[in-house]
Amino acid sequence: MLDAARQPRAHWRAMLANLEHETHETVRQRSETVRRQVRENGVTYNVAADANGKERPWDLNVLPLILPHEEWSGIEAAVIQRANLLNKILADVYGKQEMLREGLLPSALIDGHPGFLRPCHDIRHHDDIALHFYAVDLARAPDGRWWVMADRTQTPSGAGYALENRAIIAPTFPNLLRELKVQPLAKFFRTMHESLVHWGRRCAAEGDVPAPLREGEMPLIVLLTAGQRSASYYEQAYLARYLGLPLVEGGDLTVRDGVVFLKTLAGLHRVHVIMRRVDDESCDPLELHGSMLGVTGLTQAARRGNVLIANSLGSSLLESGALLGYLPALSRRLLGEPLKMPSVATWWCGEPAALETVISGLDRLVIKPSFSQLPSFAVFGQDLAGAARANFIAGLRANPNNYIAQELVRLSQAPVWMTGPAPGLQARAIGVRVFACATPNGYMVMPGGLTRVATGPDARVLAMQMGGASKDTWVQARAKVEAHRLQKRVITSEDLVREDTSLSSRVAENLLWFGRHAERCDNIARLLRVTLHFLFNVRFDQRGAEWPTVKALCIWFQLIDADTESPAPGGAGALPPAVLTDAEIESALLRAVVSPDVSGLARQQQQLYRIAGQLHERFSVDNWRALNRMVQPVALAGEAPSQSEIMTILDDATASLMTLAGFALDGMTRDLGWRFMSIGRRLERLQFQCVVLQRALSMDENGNLEWLLELSDSIVTYRARYRAQPEWLPVLDLLLRDETNPRSILFQIDGIQGAMLKIARIHGACGEYLLAPAREALIALDPGTDLNHGNAVLGELLNRIQLASAALSEQISLQFFSYTDNGQQRSRTS
């Protein structure tokens, strides 16, 4: 931040001038806003070290790193050069292997590299591009020189976080961004996407199973994820959403005759490009020997030219720090020019001379594994003494090929706004990850990056895995910047899209279950609220015939343990004896609200959240904010919340669920996915209302019906219409057959049938007829004679509806989700 004369560098002056006008309090507020945004957007990073796979909120510092135009031009040119060089090395190793023959690469580094995937040898790439996406970790020495610390060539992560950082920071300093001519990031992603589209078209046309695309027809590009457990899952989902790509797991894809397909509701859809975030070895259980997660036959599909995999399989090879020492000579040989930016001084112990240098100079070196396939570690020579040092050196000598040693680089520092007990500016060491993507016209560098901040004043390791923080990275333009927007292409009328045809079966299934669980949350919250209202506000001796019914419902939905208060013999409709005291019931219900260990609201919310996590890319940021707001109060509630706290939690939960439902109604397009979600919601509500009404009908005739209306969210309508105490006829009419009441049985049936008819129009008959007989019977009811408490026909009808809805649910699974591998095991033979 300071130049040699210890004056602030020019570009910092504007920033500092801006901060100068601000009190500590304002900066603190800005910082707090950033933290809240991160939390509400649900930006997380999975800490791999945590056995429970815990998600950690993303740590974003309010102050950006600013890079002036001249400094950036140097970085940009060096990164482009390096991407070109690494791409050529990759092509050579997986092709002619001239560098091995010429001795520019030692055989031990290739033949002995655990990441060298022999099945990927001789796979051809369009325009000779094997490295489509590249990230490089840079560090700046105190003298201002930039150094390369490491190359990320397999599944470079962080670009999505950089994008998200900008989205959060930009509104915090709106004027400053313009004033400092900070370059936007969107164009980079647009270009990357357009390049993949270009190569996707070529795959469609030039593979050994050609099926050229029409002019406006888009190739299918998917983002392959290892799933929710991968460290940067949040980022993958964010990128998928930003670029509009289906986020798929290995099981969503299948290879047939050398062609990759996405399993969708409408059958198999050809995939042209796979942007992968799955490690090399895990991509294909048939040829790459890794886990069973990948896509069987993917290597063969790539070999036959029918799909583009970005980055190409086997590209982890270049991440080895042992390569760094060979790059200068390789650059002269392959590019005919010297390296523009040096790598941090690195010795590969596989060279006998280097090994001795390392051992004698251990104190100023950090030792790391040569290959990313080995367990990760960083040992500082200066920390080693006595027997530990001797042991370590013995280890180096035993397997020298597995170790590299790097010089400790003193990192330049940048100002960081520290929160906590003593807020204020402090200096911290930083490093920047810069991103490049291949285009048919050469590499392009993202004008920005992911700045990482060391955790403490003297931290020697920069790693998000270890809990570091990040900063937005501002690259200044020479001239005024034009605003860019994502995605621009020529779309003809033929290409207009109404239905998302690439909806995978797995996503559709998750959407259906999301709908069901959201509704289930709502039902449980309402039931808890109604029951607790009795407990808190109605004296025991004043509770009418409705109280045992309400309790029975709580038992039915497992909010009170059925073992302690088992239903009397005589069937499900019989009332349980009142053996539990109010205190016992209250404690059970409180647990049901806040504890995820028992069935109840907290557990239900967790399940909803988990399913939502699998649908990350389908929901807008606003939608996520609502979800996060819903889960947080329960998570933050103490061990023993007060009565009013509990009621507030339940009110908030219901309100958040309303917001979610509002998004579903108003914020999502009525595509196939939405219909599945809506069917899930309606099915769940239908089944809930059937149970509730059956129980209510078995209640004593004189019981108060207010709770039933409350539970069914219909009390306002009832009061507006009848302005009187609830009575059976109007209540049953409202809850059973009022097609305008969104809680009525008829409303659910109509909604389900409507959605299923729309699906049937695309996919053929799918069980939409199953509820038809029940609907007819419902309509045929005569309000004058049938809608009364004692009518056994009603209970029987509700029972039939329940059975039909269960059959329908099964039919949907059979017809649409059979492609998902649930219950289907994959096994390997040899």
Partner: protein, 307 residues
């Protein structure tokens, strides 16, 4: 790779290799990757070869892998609860260098020191087989075992032959002691295993002293007990070791049968270890538990049919 015109056919064989999988439940999708086609070599010529499957497959793709072996990819999309893979080959073998020529080869240390320095195509190719691979790692006990044969200054092939004999003497053939995932450490301690274990153990020994070694997959002619007829399906896939010995090239040793490979071994292909040349690798969807049955029959044919 054709045998030289002057070469003399020393043996001819018909090999039938049948692999049957029986699944507990239906398999809806099966993708298989095979190394079942014999390589063409200066000392081995394929006269006929075919692979068929039951259920039959329409799709199949032949290829050559990184090591130069023949491969085939097939996929079955019809639901099935059993799969038969039938591979059938007729091969002619030609004379290889015999024991007489082994005397006077380079000291093993010279071969070791050549690795990584010498840039001839043969040496570079040998480097591919010099390092740890999925099933073969080096460890001190293994190196110590190897050193008993690799004494200072000993001729490369002399040492290899000695190691072959020692493995044969020290280890007992036992089909139930190991499986494909048994680590070398355990084989070395237990002193039991099958041809695959012995081959990989010998490869590990060679690599631990800095010498390249290949895993060769194929078949061997077995001899029925005196006076008994040759039984169909009584043979098995076999594996042995190829040792780099410049300037001769690669010389094959069979530690399971304490012999130098001559004209009773039929070569399918080679790699760094079993994982590179697994005869059949597959991934199936569904199926549940599976039963595997392999039958190999090697039948000698008369030499005279060649025209």
């Amino acid at each position: 790779m054709d045998p030289p015109a002057s070469a003399r056919v020393s043996a001819r064989y018909r090999v039938v290799h049948e692999t049957r999988y029986r699944y507990q439940s239906m398999v809806s999708l099966s993708q298989q990757y095979m190394h079942l086609t014999p390589r063409l070599l200066p000392y081995q010529k394929t006269e006929s070869h075919l692979i068929w499957l039951d259920p039959a497959v329409s799709e199949g793709k032949d290829g050559i892998d990184y090591f130069g072996n023949h491969t085939r990819h097939v996929a079955l999309t019809v639901p099935h609860d059993s799969l038969l893979v039938h591979a059938e080959s007729t091969v002619a073998l030609y004379a290889r260098p015999g024991p007489v020529q082994i005397e006077g080869t380079l000291p093993w240390e010279s071969v070791r020191d050549m690795m990584g320095k010498e840039k001839s195509p043969a040496s570079l190719e040998a480097c591919r087989y010099l390092y740890a691979s999925p099933h073969v790692n080096s460890f001190p006990a293994l190196e110590a075992y190897a050193r008993l044969s690799y004494t200072p200054g000993r001729a490369q092939l002399d040492a290899a032959l000695d190691l072959t004999y020692r493995i044969f003497e020290d280890f007992e053939f036992d089909g139930s002691a190991t499986d494909i995932s048994t680590p070398l450490e355990q084989v070395l301690v237990g002193r039991r295993g099958v041809c695959q274990d012995f081959a990989q153990l010998m490869i590990g020994c060679l690599r631990s002293v800095g010498l390249p070694a290949r895993y060769v997959s194929g078949y061997i002619l077995t001899h029925p007990p005196e006076g008994k007829p040759r039984l169909v399906g009584a043979d098995a896939s076999h594996a042995w070791v190829s040792v780099f010995c410049p300037p001769l090239g690669w010389v094959d040793f069979d530690p399971t049968n304490h012999c130098l490979v001559q004209d009773e071994h039929i070569t399918l292909g080679w790699g760094r270890d079993f994982s590179d040349v697994t005869p059949i690798r597959g991934v199936v969807l569904g199926g549940g538990k599976q039963l595997l049955d392999v039958q190999v029959t090697v039948t000698p044919l008369p030499l005279a049919t060649e025209t």
